[in-house]
Symmetry: C2
Subunit: 142 residues, 2 copies
Amino acid sequence: MPKKCNFIEKLREAGLRPTKQRLNMCEVLFNREKTFHFTINDLVKMISEKMNQKISLATVYNTVHAFEKKGYLKEISIDSHKSYFDTNTSVHHHFFDEETNELIDCDENDIDPVNIKKNITGKKINSVEVLIKVASDNQNQK
Amino acid sequence: MPKKCNFIEKLREAGLRPTKQRLNMCEVLFNREKTFHFTINDLVKMISEKMNQKISLATVYNTVHAFEKKGYLKEISIDSHKSYFDTNTSVHHHFFDEETNELIDCDENDIDPVNIKKNITGKKINSVEVLIKVASDNQNQK
DNA sequence: AACTACATTATAATAATTCTAAACTATTGA
DNA sequence: TCAATAGTTTAGAATTATTATAATGTAGTT
Protein backbone atom coordinates (compact mmCIF):
# COMPACT_ATOMS: atom_id res chain seq x y z
CA MET A 1 0.00 0.00 0.00
CA PRO A 2 1.51 3.31 -1.04
CA LYS A 3 1.99 6.04 1.56
CA LYS A 4 1.30 9.73 1.14
CA CYS A 5 4.83 10.47 -0.07
CA ASN A 6 4.40 7.96 -2.88
CA PHE A 7 1.36 9.83 -4.09
CA ILE A 8 3.39 13.02 -4.19
CA GLU A 9 5.91 11.20 -6.36
CA LYS A 10 3.21 9.62 -8.46
CA LEU A 11 1.66 12.99 -9.20
CA ARG A 12 4.95 14.69 -9.87
CA GLU A 13 6.02 12.00 -12.29
CA ALA A 14 2.85 12.60 -14.25
CA GLY A 15 3.53 16.31 -14.30
CA LEU A 16 0.68 17.03 -11.91
CA ARG A 17 1.21 19.25 -8.90
CA PRO A 18 0.60 17.46 -5.64
CA THR A 19 -2.15 19.64 -4.26
CA LYS A 20 -4.18 18.86 -1.15
CA GLN A 21 -7.19 17.91 -3.26
CA ARG A 22 -5.27 15.60 -5.55
CA LEU A 23 -3.59 13.88 -2.62
CA ASN A 24 -6.97 13.37 -0.97
CA MET A 25 -8.26 11.84 -4.16
CA CYS A 26 -5.22 9.57 -4.39
CA GLU A 27 -5.90 8.39 -0.83
CA VAL A 28 -9.49 7.55 -1.63
CA LEU A 29 -8.74 5.98 -4.98
CA PHE A 30 -5.43 4.20 -4.63
CA ASN A 31 -4.74 3.61 -0.94
CA ARG A 32 -6.54 0.25 -0.78
CA GLU A 33 -6.01 -3.45 -1.23
CA LYS A 34 -8.11 -3.93 -4.34
CA THR A 35 -8.88 -1.86 -7.39
CA PHE A 36 -12.49 -0.77 -7.75
CA HIS A 37 -15.05 0.94 -9.98
CA PHE A 38 -16.82 4.20 -9.30
CA THR A 39 -18.93 6.94 -10.82
CA ILE A 40 -18.14 10.64 -10.37
CA ASN A 41 -21.06 10.79 -7.96
CA ASP A 42 -19.74 7.88 -5.91
CA LEU A 43 -16.39 9.58 -5.72
CA VAL A 44 -17.68 12.95 -4.55
CA LYS A 45 -19.53 11.16 -1.74
CA MET A 46 -16.51 9.04 -0.84
CA ILE A 47 -14.22 12.04 -0.64
CA SER A 48 -16.49 14.14 1.54
CA GLU A 49 -17.12 11.15 3.84
CA LYS A 50 -13.67 9.67 4.07
CA MET A 51 -11.72 12.90 4.02
CA ASN A 52 -14.32 14.81 6.00
CA GLN A 53 -13.52 17.78 3.86
CA LYS A 54 -15.27 19.78 1.22
CA ILE A 55 -14.18 19.48 -2.40
CA SER A 56 -15.56 21.28 -5.41
CA LEU A 57 -17.38 19.19 -7.97
CA ALA A 58 -15.39 20.89 -10.71
CA THR A 59 -12.16 19.79 -9.06
CA VAL A 60 -13.32 16.19 -8.95
CA TYR A 61 -14.12 16.29 -12.67
CA ASN A 62 -10.84 18.03 -13.52
CA THR A 63 -8.78 15.67 -11.43
CA VAL A 64 -10.49 12.51 -12.61
CA HIS A 65 -9.87 13.60 -16.19
CA ALA A 66 -6.26 14.49 -15.39
CA PHE A 67 -5.79 11.05 -13.82
CA GLU A 68 -7.45 9.38 -16.78
CA LYS A 69 -5.20 11.24 -19.20
CA LYS A 70 -2.15 10.17 -17.24
CA GLY A 71 -3.28 6.57 -17.19
CA TYR A 72 -4.18 6.37 -13.50
CA LEU A 73 -7.82 5.73 -14.29
CA LYS A 74 -9.72 4.11 -17.10
CA GLU A 75 -13.26 4.90 -18.19
CA ILE A 76 -15.73 2.07 -18.70
CA SER A 77 -18.88 3.12 -20.49
CA ILE A 78 -21.89 0.84 -20.17
CA ASP A 79 -24.55 2.91 -21.84
CA SER A 80 -25.25 6.59 -22.28
CA HIS A 81 -26.34 6.87 -18.67
CA LYS A 82 -23.88 4.66 -16.90
CA SER A 83 -20.24 5.60 -16.99
CA TYR A 84 -17.73 4.21 -14.55
CA PHE A 85 -14.06 4.71 -13.84
CA ASP A 86 -11.74 1.87 -12.96
CA THR A 87 -8.64 2.15 -10.80
CA ASN A 88 -7.40 -1.01 -12.47
CA THR A 89 -5.78 0.33 -15.62
CA SER A 90 -4.36 -2.97 -16.86
CA VAL A 91 -5.92 -4.63 -19.88
CA HIS A 92 -8.87 -6.62 -18.57
CA HIS A 93 -12.51 -7.19 -19.33
CA HIS A 94 -15.73 -6.74 -17.41
CA PHE A 95 -18.97 -8.30 -16.40
CA PHE A 96 -21.84 -5.89 -15.90
CA ASP A 97 -24.79 -7.01 -13.81
CA GLU A 98 -27.77 -5.34 -15.42
CA GLU A 99 -29.91 -5.88 -12.32
CA THR A 100 -27.60 -4.54 -9.65
CA ASN A 101 -25.74 -2.12 -11.95
CA GLU A 102 -22.55 -3.67 -10.66
CA LEU A 103 -19.38 -3.69 -12.72
CA ILE A 104 -17.14 -6.69 -11.99
CA ASP A 105 -13.62 -7.38 -13.20
CA CYS A 106 -13.24 -10.42 -15.36
CA ASP A 107 -10.35 -12.55 -14.21
CA GLU A 108 -7.72 -13.06 -16.87
CA ASN A 109 -8.12 -16.82 -16.51
CA ASP A 110 -11.85 -16.71 -17.08
CA ILE A 111 -11.69 -15.51 -20.65
CA ASP A 112 -9.53 -16.50 -23.62
CA PRO A 113 -7.60 -13.73 -25.37
CA VAL A 114 -9.66 -12.09 -28.09
CA ASN A 115 -8.27 -13.01 -31.48
CA ILE A 116 -8.75 -10.35 -34.13
CA LYS A 117 -7.90 -11.95 -37.44
CA LYS A 118 -8.20 -8.88 -39.59
CA ASN A 119 -7.82 -5.27 -38.57
CA ILE A 120 -8.79 -2.18 -40.54
CA THR A 121 -6.12 -1.32 -43.11
CA GLY A 122 -3.78 1.46 -42.04
CA LYS A 123 -4.99 1.48 -38.47
CA LYS A 124 -3.39 0.30 -35.30
CA ILE A 125 -5.32 -1.21 -32.43
CA ASN A 126 -5.27 0.92 -29.29
CA SER A 127 -7.45 -1.26 -27.10
CA VAL A 128 -9.71 -4.27 -27.09
CA GLU A 129 -12.42 -4.37 -24.48
CA VAL A 130 -15.02 -7.02 -23.82
CA LEU A 131 -18.17 -6.24 -21.90
CA ILE A 132 -20.27 -9.20 -20.77
CA LYS A 133 -23.74 -8.19 -19.63
CA VAL A 134 -25.28 -10.62 -17.15
CA ALA A 135 -28.48 -10.98 -15.15
CA SER A 136 -29.74 -13.49 -12.64
CA ASP A 137 -30.51 -16.89 -14.11
CA ASN A 138 -34.13 -17.57 -13.10
CA GLN A 139 -34.62 -20.68 -15.19
CA ASN A 140 -34.55 -22.93 -12.12
CA GLN A 141 -37.19 -21.06 -10.19
CA LYS A 142 -39.68 -21.05 -13.05
CA MET B 1 -36.12 -3.68 -48.91
CA PRO B 2 -39.33 -3.48 -46.88
CA LYS B 3 -42.20 -1.33 -48.07
CA LYS B 4 -44.35 0.95 -45.94
CA CYS B 5 -46.92 -1.76 -45.25
CA ASN B 6 -44.20 -3.94 -43.80
CA PHE B 7 -43.33 -1.24 -41.33
CA ILE B 8 -46.94 -1.08 -40.24
CA GLU B 9 -46.79 -4.80 -39.58
CA LYS B 10 -43.43 -4.53 -37.91
CA LEU B 11 -44.68 -1.90 -35.52
CA ARG B 12 -47.92 -3.69 -34.79
CA GLU B 13 -46.14 -6.92 -34.02
CA ALA B 14 -44.08 -5.07 -31.45
CA GLY B 15 -47.21 -3.58 -29.92
CA LEU B 16 -46.39 -0.12 -31.20
CA ARG B 17 -49.02 1.94 -32.97
CA PRO B 18 -48.04 2.75 -36.54
CA THR B 19 -48.10 6.52 -36.31
CA LYS B 20 -46.92 8.87 -39.03
CA GLN B 21 -43.79 9.72 -37.02
CA ARG B 22 -42.86 6.12 -36.35
CA LEU B 23 -43.35 5.17 -39.99
CA ASN B 24 -41.14 8.06 -41.04
CA MET B 25 -38.50 6.90 -38.65
CA CYS B 26 -38.77 3.35 -40.00
CA GLU B 27 -38.24 4.69 -43.51
CA VAL B 28 -35.13 6.55 -42.50
CA LEU B 29 -33.73 3.77 -40.35
CA PHE B 30 -34.67 0.53 -42.05
CA ASN B 31 -35.49 1.25 -45.69
CA ARG B 32 -31.91 0.89 -46.93
CA GLU B 33 -29.44 -1.67 -48.21
CA LYS B 34 -27.05 -1.67 -45.31
CA THR B 35 -27.40 -1.27 -41.59
CA PHE B 36 -25.77 1.80 -40.09
CA HIS B 37 -24.85 3.68 -36.92
CA PHE B 38 -26.23 7.01 -35.78
CA THR B 39 -26.53 9.38 -32.86
CA ILE B 40 -29.83 10.95 -31.83
CA ASN B 41 -28.57 14.19 -33.35
CA ASP B 42 -27.76 12.51 -36.65
CA LEU B 43 -31.20 11.02 -36.72
CA VAL B 44 -33.07 14.25 -36.08
CA LYS B 45 -31.18 15.83 -38.99
CA MET B 46 -31.80 12.86 -41.26
CA ILE B 47 -35.52 12.85 -40.57
CA SER B 48 -36.03 16.53 -41.17
CA GLU B 49 -33.95 16.36 -44.38
CA LYS B 50 -35.17 13.11 -45.87
CA MET B 51 -38.79 13.37 -44.80
CA ASN B 52 -38.91 17.13 -45.23
CA GLN B 53 -41.12 17.25 -42.21
CA LYS B 54 -40.83 18.50 -38.68
CA ILE B 55 -40.55 16.06 -35.81
CA SER B 56 -40.30 16.80 -32.12
CA LEU B 57 -37.04 15.94 -30.42
CA ALA B 58 -38.98 14.26 -27.63
CA THR B 59 -40.65 11.99 -30.16
CA VAL B 60 -37.29 10.96 -31.58
CA TYR B 61 -36.06 10.07 -28.11
CA ASN B 62 -39.28 8.23 -27.25
CA THR B 63 -39.34 6.32 -30.48
CA VAL B 64 -35.67 5.39 -30.47
CA HIS B 65 -36.11 4.03 -26.98
CA ALA B 66 -39.26 2.18 -27.95
CA PHE B 67 -37.41 0.65 -30.91
CA GLU B 68 -34.49 -0.25 -28.71
CA LYS B 69 -36.78 -1.93 -26.19
CA LYS B 70 -38.41 -3.95 -28.95
CA GLY B 71 -35.05 -5.00 -30.33
CA TYR B 72 -35.13 -2.91 -33.52
CA LEU B 73 -32.12 -0.91 -32.42
CA LYS B 74 -29.10 -1.53 -30.25
CA GLU B 75 -27.14 1.05 -28.29
CA ILE B 76 -23.36 1.13 -28.57
CA SER B 77 -21.69 3.25 -25.93
CA ILE B 78 -18.14 4.39 -26.59
CA ASP B 79 -17.60 6.73 -23.69
CA SER B 80 -19.73 9.02 -21.61
CA HIS B 81 -19.95 11.50 -24.48
CA LYS B 82 -20.34 9.26 -27.47
CA SER B 83 -23.36 7.04 -27.72
CA TYR B 84 -24.51 5.47 -30.96
CA PHE B 85 -27.41 3.34 -32.07
CA ASP B 86 -27.05 0.50 -34.51
CA THR B 87 -29.74 -0.75 -36.88
CA ASN B 88 -27.87 -4.04 -36.99
CA THR B 89 -29.22 -5.84 -33.95
CA SER B 90 -27.47 -9.14 -34.56
CA VAL B 91 -24.59 -10.15 -32.31
CA HIS B 92 -21.52 -8.47 -33.74
CA HIS B 93 -18.57 -6.43 -32.62
CA HIS B 94 -17.20 -3.00 -33.49
CA PHE B 95 -14.16 -1.04 -34.40
CA PHE B 96 -14.16 2.55 -33.23
CA ASP B 97 -11.87 5.00 -34.99
CA GLU B 98 -10.80 7.41 -32.28
CA GLU B 99 -9.66 10.00 -34.82
CA THR B 100 -12.70 10.13 -37.07
CA ASN B 101 -15.20 9.08 -34.37
CA GLU B 102 -16.41 6.47 -36.79
CA LEU B 103 -18.04 3.26 -35.60
CA ILE B 104 -17.45 0.34 -37.95
CA ASP B 105 -18.99 -3.13 -37.90
CA CYS B 106 -16.55 -5.93 -37.33
CA ASP B 107 -17.09 -8.70 -39.83
CA GLU B 108 -17.88 -12.04 -38.23
CA ASN B 109 -14.94 -13.59 -40.07
CA ASP B 110 -12.50 -11.02 -38.78
CA ILE B 111 -12.74 -12.00 -35.15
CA ASP B 112 -12.81 -15.37 -33.39
CA PRO B 113 -15.74 -16.06 -31.06
CA VAL B 114 -15.05 -14.81 -27.54
CA ASN B 115 -14.60 -17.76 -25.22
CA ILE B 116 -15.71 -17.10 -21.66
CA LYS B 117 -14.44 -19.99 -19.60
CA LYS B 118 -16.07 -19.05 -16.33
CA ASN B 119 -19.16 -16.98 -15.80
CA ILE B 120 -20.40 -15.46 -12.56
CA THR B 121 -22.27 -18.04 -10.47
CA GLY B 122 -26.02 -17.82 -10.71
CA LYS B 123 -25.97 -15.40 -13.61
CA LYS B 124 -26.78 -15.84 -17.26
CA ILE B 125 -24.97 -14.02 -20.02
CA ASN B 126 -27.19 -11.60 -21.89
CA SER B 127 -24.62 -10.25 -24.31
CA VAL B 128 -20.93 -10.21 -25.11
CA GLU B 129 -19.63 -7.16 -26.92
CA VAL B 130 -16.13 -6.39 -28.08
CA LEU B 131 -15.07 -2.84 -28.81
CA ILE B 132 -11.77 -2.40 -30.65
CA LYS B 133 -10.48 1.16 -30.54
CA VAL B 134 -8.20 2.03 -33.44
CA ALA B 135 -6.27 5.03 -34.74
CA SER B 136 -4.14 5.66 -37.78
CA ASP B 137 -0.83 3.80 -37.79
CA ASN B 138 1.79 6.53 -38.25
CA GLN B 139 4.84 4.37 -37.63
CA ASN B 140 5.78 4.35 -41.31
CA GLN B 141 5.73 8.11 -41.73
CA LYS B 142 7.98 8.72 -38.76
C1' DA C 1 9.79 36.97 -0.37
C1' DA C 2 8.00 37.62 -4.82
C1' DC C 3 6.87 36.08 -9.17
C1' DT C 4 4.69 32.95 -12.23
C1' DA C 5 2.16 29.26 -13.68
C1' DC C 6 -0.97 26.17 -12.45
C1' DA C 7 -5.18 24.73 -9.42
C1' DT C 8 -9.33 25.30 -6.95
C1' DT C 9 -13.60 27.22 -6.26
C1' DA C 10 -18.46 28.81 -6.68
C1' DT C 11 -21.27 29.81 -9.95
C1' DA C 12 -22.89 30.32 -14.63
C1' DA C 13 -23.37 28.16 -18.96
C1' DT C 14 -24.12 24.42 -21.95
C1' DA C 15 -25.65 19.99 -23.51
C1' DA C 16 -28.23 15.93 -23.38
C1' DT C 17 -32.18 13.87 -21.91
C1' DT C 18 -36.61 13.44 -19.58
C1' DC C 19 -40.94 15.32 -17.83
C1' DT C 20 -45.37 17.63 -18.29
C1' DA C 21 -49.72 18.52 -19.66
C1' DA C 22 -52.39 19.77 -23.46
C1' DA C 23 -53.67 18.54 -28.07
C1' DC C 24 -53.95 14.84 -31.23
C1' DT C 25 -54.69 10.19 -33.32
C1' DA C 26 -55.23 5.16 -33.80
C1' DT C 27 -58.06 1.60 -32.21
C1' DT C 28 -62.18 -0.49 -30.33
C1' DG C 29 -66.69 -1.55 -30.11
C1' DA C 30 -71.45 0.16 -29.85
C1' DT D 1 -69.88 5.61 -38.42
C1' DC D 2 -68.91 7.72 -34.34
C1' DA D 3 -67.79 8.28 -29.73
C1' DA D 4 -64.91 6.56 -26.03
C1' DT D 5 -60.33 5.46 -24.56
C1' DA D 6 -55.86 4.60 -24.50
C1' DG D 7 -51.71 5.56 -26.45
C1' DT D 8 -48.85 9.34 -28.93
C1' DT D 9 -46.95 13.74 -30.17
C1' DT D 10 -45.65 18.17 -29.10
C1' DA D 11 -43.46 22.51 -27.27
C1' DG D 12 -41.47 23.94 -23.72
C1' DA D 13 -40.08 23.45 -18.88
C1' DA D 14 -37.30 20.79 -15.78
C1' DT D 15 -33.58 17.93 -14.70
C1' DT D 16 -29.09 16.04 -14.88
C1' DA D 17 -24.39 15.74 -16.13
C1' DT D 18 -20.62 18.12 -17.52
C1' DT D 19 -17.77 22.10 -18.80
C1' DA D 20 -16.50 27.06 -18.84
C1' DT D 21 -15.44 31.33 -16.37
C1' DA D 22 -13.09 34.35 -13.70
C1' DA D 23 -11.64 35.38 -9.20
C1' DT D 24 -8.91 33.63 -5.54
C1' DG D 25 -5.45 30.56 -3.83
C1' DT D 26 -1.23 27.69 -3.87
C1' DA D 27 3.06 25.24 -5.46
C1' DG D 28 7.43 25.77 -7.55
C1' DT D 29 11.11 28.82 -8.91
C1' DT D 30 14.22 32.68 -8.53
